[in-house]
Amino acid sequence: MATAMDQLVGFGLVAFSLLLFVYYTIWIIILPFIDSDHGIHKFFLPREYSVTIPVIAGLLLVLFVGVFVVIVMWKNRKPAKKSD
């Protein structure tokens, strides 16, 4: 059995990604087929954000990964001079 913390984090990730997937699916695929005077539309942001938010999040992710790689490589650099 994985530790309780592992299980909590693991199933938490599963629940979060499921929620995200359901919200995004309804936003992108189902809402266009619902009349614009239905009440459900007030739970969802305007449609432009459905593209800008994931793109910006993806760019931020790439930025963090790049910064992490730069920091690790910087820490591991060896001095070029040898002590002969």
Binding site: A2, I29, S50
Partner: protein, 92 residues
């Protein structure tokens, strides 16, 4: 053909299909809700793939079982190796 070339061909095919339907060069006017669904579709596929990856990682993290016997055997091997190496003069 390499795997990379196969993937790129597949992506190019899907991209062309999406562009043909979304940018509407042929002038076949789809109904408006279909156009509205079609435009963010590549981003939707990316987000869906990201959600699937996250869920798979979370699920495998939660269901990963400890291997008691393998852990004990490994500790035993570590002790043997330390004893052997310190006998040969390696300092820990």
């Amino acid at each position: 053909m390499t795997k990379l070339a196969q993937w790129l061909c597949g992506l190019a095919l899907l991209g062309t299909a999406w562009a043909t339907l979304a940018l509407d060069p042929l002038g076949l006017h789809l109904p408006l809700p279909c156009q509205q669904v079609l435009w963010p579709f590549p981003v939707y596929l990316l987000v869906a793939f990201g959600c699937y990856s996250l869920a798979t990682i979370g699920y495998r993290l939660a269901t990963f079982n400890d291997c008691e016997a393998a852990a004990k055997e490994l500790q035993e091997q570590i002790r043997e190796a330390r004893a052997d190496l310190s006998q040969r003069g390696l300092k820990f």
